[in-house]
Structure formats: C-alpha cells, structure tokens
C-alpha cells in the first residue's frame, strides 16, 4: 500500500517511465509538483527563463533522442507561454508531455489569479489533453499520456492539474504498468504486392521521404529499398538525414528552396512513393500541379493523411519501417540507367549553386566550414528564416536526428532552447545552433540557461540586421516595398552574450576566421559566434508561395541573381 499526494505520484510515475530531465518554471499553481520534484534523486530539473524555452528544451530532448520528454509550467501566463512550443510539437509530430499547474478546482471559472482555460486552449494544438479532477486519476492519466504521445503518429499531450489535486492524498496498491508500444497494421499483403508491382513497372520513380522516416527509425529500411531498386530519393525539411546527402541516389530537399534539378526531376516522375510525409505545401508547391501525371503510393501511420491532399493509388497505413521492409523482397533489383542518366543531365544543367562556398564569412561558406570542423555525431539545430534554409540546402546531413528544426509551425525562437535540450540529452556531443538576428531575440533569455547548465553549445548568429525571408518576399513579390523588416537598432550580440557570462566573438573581426571558428567550436562549453551577413544575401532558388514547383526564381546556372 502506497500513500502520498498527487504531486508525488506524478514524479514517481515519471521516474518509472525513465524521465531523467524535466525543463520548466515553477509558479503558484505547480509548487506542490516542484516540492515533490525536489525530492527526486533521478530527475534533473532544468530551470528555463521563459516557459516557451522550457517547451523547446523538452522538444530538443525528444527530437534528438526519439524518446518522449517532459516540461512543466504553472497556470495562467506559464501555460499560455508554453503553448507555442506545444503547437510546434503538434505540427512536427514530436512526443512531449507538458504538465501545467491549474488554480484549485473550487476557483476554476471564477477568473482567479493566474487562471486561464488551459484545457480549452490546448485542445487544437495537442494530440490529446487532460484536466485531472482527482489524485487517483493521475495513476491512469500519466501512463495514458505516454501511450498517446508515442503510439501511432507521435505528438504532444498536455495534462492540466489543479493545485488541490496535486495536494490530495491518495492510497493505492500497485504502480501502473509501463506498457509496450503496440504495432499498428491495417494494410493487407495484396496492398504490399500491388505497391511492389507499381514500383517494378515504373520507369521514373521517386522515393519521397518525410519526418515519419526519422520518427519510425526507418532510414535503414528506406535506404535498402532505394538501393535495391535504384530509386532516386528526395527528402522534406524534416526528412533530411534519412539518407546521407552524399549518397549517389539522394536528390536533397524538395520544394520551395530545393535545388532546381531536384524539383525538375520530381516533375518528370511517373511514380511517387511517399513515405512518412504529408504533402506539405512547402514541399509540393501548388498541389494541383505537383507531378500531376504520377501514380502515388502513400505510406503513413496516420490514416488521416492518406487522400487528404493527394489521392493515393496504393494506400499503406502502418509503421513505415515495417512496410518498407515488407516491400523489399517483392521489389526487383534494378539499375535504372536511363532514369538516373536523365537525372544526372538535369543535375548538370540545373545544379545547386552555393555562391561564397569558400568564404567563411558568407552563408554557404560558413555552413560548409562548420560541417568540416565537426563530425556526423554533432547535432545541428536551426532557428527559422534564411539561415535555416541555407543550412537545409548546404549542410551535409548524413544521419537521422542530426538536424533539429521547426518545420510545420516555423517558430522563430526554436533554435537555442531546442539546442540546449539536445545538448542535455547528449552531453558528449557538440551541438551547433544556427540562428539569425531576428530569431535569436525571440528566446535570447535562454542564454542564461545555456551558461548555467554549461552545455557544449555553439550558437552561430547570421546577422543580416533584418527579418531576411520577409525582406526577400517583399523584394520579389511586393515591389521592393521593404516594410517592418529592417532593424534600425543594431544589437551588439557579443556584448549581450558576455553579459550572460557566455564566451562570444565576432568572426568578421578575426584575421584568421577559419582558425578562429575551429578553435571556438572545438573548445568545451557554450560560445556565441557572431557573423555579419549582407541584407541582400538571398535564399535561391525560391518557389513563390502558392506557385507550382516548376516556377523557381533564382539559382540559375550562368545567370546573375
């Protein structure tokens, strides 16, 4: 027989689920939870400086490890602050569990101090959410939350727990079991055979891999299938790392900022094998003009994604790694000389251009240089904007979970706290966070957390004194009427970092920038590296929003951009 309060039950169950790091901020409504956490010998608490930072630290842990991660916030502003990180986790299918304090039940609905309807507000941005009404319920709700966050398509779960429930004493005989993850399967053998027949019959197939490949640990299965049948492979932003960027079959990222040859090759395909991807508009461009002649095999664990935006000819709902492995024996060994030669021609005629690739003070050069300094074990986080797209285009990703980036929600401010989380989960590894001067200001307070936790994090700020992608769209699509995108106040990030107690320097002031970069990245501990970038360094090619992927602007060989 066990007897303890609700808060103690929560902490004990989290321990039993193997949680060893929790990021959060205490406040009036979750103080019992923090009191219980203070007694834990296995959970390390990471005190964030803003609840959104705590949410993204949890995401960094979950994205880099593949395991669910937990964050805490208090009621009211604590809860509203963390919602952005939860919405971000929903769009990118990241398993995080957020436990919020709530005012005591007797005060719910009275506009009490720090009361908001956390449950109501979190419905559309979570996979599921709970408002716990008795301490006994905690014994089923927490295991349910872990099950829901990780089974099928992963996603965030929020548990709102009133303060009186945290304090309520509960007696029980047994701890809940930690269930094993069930295997979901709803396709039939004949569907597998039909898909294999289509692949074998296709002349110009393309394998299109999304973030689901990473979540399902299916990059090995995808690579085996691609190599056996000589399938050219493209990846979404979240799918990068599913296959090494230097693999001969890899075409790189598709969509809005893809290399020209990649989008052109996809246009010519007669079969799209879409695995763990959801036809996001940034990947497909105008969906009605996205390879309209191609047959589609769609593999996804979420039945709601099948036929949502593009009708599939073969629909395979289940674990993508299992399905790809089941397909393998039915797919013929092929060389596809004709199709691969055609793709090589497209690549030669419309290559990816990376101007300044040898200059460490230019975006592509900086990214290439850093990639040369670190090895594949390094974790690369980005914020959102031009720097994110340059990294996606040019960084040589070679393994799953190497890139942490906010894809679906595109949240500026994601990078720094996510990188901190990744570093906490992988203390032996170097973590590099590429950010911009716009993004970094959206969660810059987490520099304090990074220094306090002594994470081995290198924060590289590409500073173009503007909201670069906004400026680029105003340049191209709004008659160069630049508005609200050019910062007049030029922040001194090096001084700011030093104020947080963090090493920092300006790469452009170094006489030997390559050596300075190497020294900074190989040294232990957090460091900020500031790199000024011209405002008019643009991201090319670009597909105009809403246009077909054929209509790329810029990045043309033998043309001045």
């Amino acid at each position: 027989m066990y007897k303890m309060n609700g808060a103690q039950v929560i902490i004990k169950i989290l321990e039993r689920y193997g949680i060893d790091i929790i990021a959060g901020i205490p406040g009036g409504s979750n103080l019992p939870l923090y009191d219980a956490l203070s007694q834990s010998t296995t959970i390390r608490h990471i005190l964030a400086r803003h609840e959104q930072g705590a949410g993204f630290i949890a995401q960094g842990i979950a994205r880099s490890s593949g395991k669910p991660a937990v964050c805490f916030a208090t009621s009211g502003p604590g809860a509203t602050n963390i919602l952005t990180a939860i919405a971000d986790a929903k769009l990118d299918s990241i398993p995080i569990i957020c436990i919020t304090g709530q005012v005591p039940q007797a005060m719910i609905g009275t506009d009490a101090f720090q009361e908001v309807d956390t449950y109501g507000m979190s419905i559309p941005i979570t996979k599921h959410n709970f408002l716990v009404r008795t301490a006994k319920e905690i014994l089923t709700v927490i295991p349910d939350a872990f099950r829901i966050a990780t089974e099928g398509r992963p996603g965030p779960v929020l548990i709102d727990i009133p303060k009186d429930v945290q304090l309520e004493l509960v007696e029980f005989d047994n701890w809940p079991e930690v269930p094993r993850r069930p295997i979901l399967k709803s396709y039939k053998d004949k569907d597998i055979q039909q898909a294999a027949t289509m692949i074998n019959a296709a002349d110009r197939p393309i394998l299109y891999l999304g973030g689901g490949i990473i979540h399902a640990n299916a990059s090995g299965a995808a690579t085996r299938l691609a190599e056996k049948n000589a399938l050219p492979v493209t990846m979404t932003l979240l799918g990068l790392g599913s296959m090494p960027s230097d693999h001969p079959l890899t075409l790189g990222m598709l969509g809005m900022h893809a290399a020209r040859y990649t989008n052109l090759a996809i246009e010519e395909c007669d079969l799209l094998i879409v695995a763990g991807a959801r036809f996001d508009d940034r990947a497909t461009g105008k969906i009605s003009e996205f390879c309209p002649a191609a047959n589609v095999i769609h593999i996804d664990i979420d039945p709601g994604e099948i036929d949502k935006l593009r009708t599939a000819h073969v629909k395979l709902v289940g674990d993508v790694g299992m399905i790809l492995d089941e397909l393998l024996p039915f797919v013929k060994q092929r060389k596809r000389n004709e199709w691969l030669t055609r793709i090589k021609t497209l690549r030669d005629e419309h290559p990816f251009l990376s101007p300044g690739a040898h200059d460490p003070l230019m975006p592509y050069g900086l990214i290439r240089q850093i990639a040369d300094i670190v090895d594949d074990s390094a974790i690369i986080a980005t914020d959102v904007g031009k720097h994110q797209m340059w990294v996606a285009q040019a960084y040589p990703f070679r393994r799953p979970r190497q890139l942490l980036t906010s894809g679906g929600l595109g949240t500026m401010g994601f990078g720094l706290p996510a990188a901190i989380g990744a570093s906490l989960a992988h203390p032996q590894r170097t973590v590099v966070c590429f950010s911009g001067d716009g993004s970094i200001l959206m969660n810059i307070q987490e520099l304090a957390t990074a220094v306090e936790q002594k994470v081995n994090l290198k924060l590289v700020i590409l500073n173009n004194t503007s909201l670069g992608l906004v400026r680029q769209q105003q340049d191209l699509f709004f008659g160069k009427r630049y508005f609200a995108c050019e910062y007049q106040n030029h922040v001194d990030f090096v001084t700011i970092a030093k104020g947080f107690g963090m090493k920092a320097f300006d790469l452009s002031e170094s006489v030997t920038p390559v050596a300075a970069l190497r020294q900074a990245i190989l040294a232990e501990g957090p460091c900020l590296i500031h790199v000024p970038i011209k405002r008019n360094e643009e991201v090319y090619p670009i597909v105009p929003p809403g246009a077909s992927n054929k209509e790329m602007i810029g990045g043309e060989k033998n043309a001045a951009n």
Binding site: G120, I123, P124, G152, S186, P303, G304, D307, V317
Partner: protein, 108 residues
C-alpha cells in the same frame, strides 16, 4: 487507440455531401469541446449536434448532422483519431433522429 480500418461510406446519391454521424465517446466535460474544436479547426461544416450520456454516464452518444462538401471521408478519419471517440457510425442524411426533432426547432 480508435480503429484504423477505413470506413466505407455510401452517401445518398441525391445528397452526396450530407450525412448523419453517430459517435460513441467517453463522457467527460471536455469531450464536446474536442469534437467541436476539430470541426472548427479543419473547417468542416456541421449543422446540427445532439449529445446525451449513456451507460450510466460512463459514455456519451453524439449525433452530428454534417454538410461535408466532399470532405466526408476526412471528417470520419479525423474523428476516429480522437482519443475519446470509440466508434463512428455513418448514416445517410435522412436519418430519423434529426427529422424527429423538427417540431422542436420551429421558429415561431
């Protein structure tokens, strides 16, 4: 986990976008919010909804009349994904449950 078997839909030929759905759900104070939030967030069109507890209040039954605009199948799939939804049954638009209520909805 709700079933992930695809639902076979056979809308009435004269009303291809209209249907009545019968849901069996967990009964708790947030369940209606979950259903309505799904409809608003995905811009599905519901023009009638009824909800009553069943089985001693452990479960509820929800009847929804929808105008699907070609989205019927997606609506059903998304409903099935909700944790609190145990079953989704599909009926044609002329189902008696809403017809029987017509008198109660007369505007005087």
């Amino acid at each position: 986990m709700p079933p992930i078997e695809p639902v076979k839909l056979s809308p009435a030929p004269d009303k291809p976008n209209k249907a009545v759905l019968e849901l069996t759900v967990n009964n708790h104070p947030g369940v209606m919010s979950h259903i309505c939030s799904l409809f608003s967030h995905r811009v599905y069109n519901m023009d009638g909804i009824l909800c009553m507890p069943v089985k001693d209040g452990q479960m509820s039954k929800i009847w929804i009349r929808i105008n699907g605009n070609g989205q019927l199948e997606q609506i059903v799939k998304q409903l099935q994904k909700l944790e609190d939804v145990h079953a989704v049954r599909y009926h044609n638009a002329g189902h008696e449950i809403f017809i029987a209520l017509e008198d109660s909805f007369k505007v005087i």
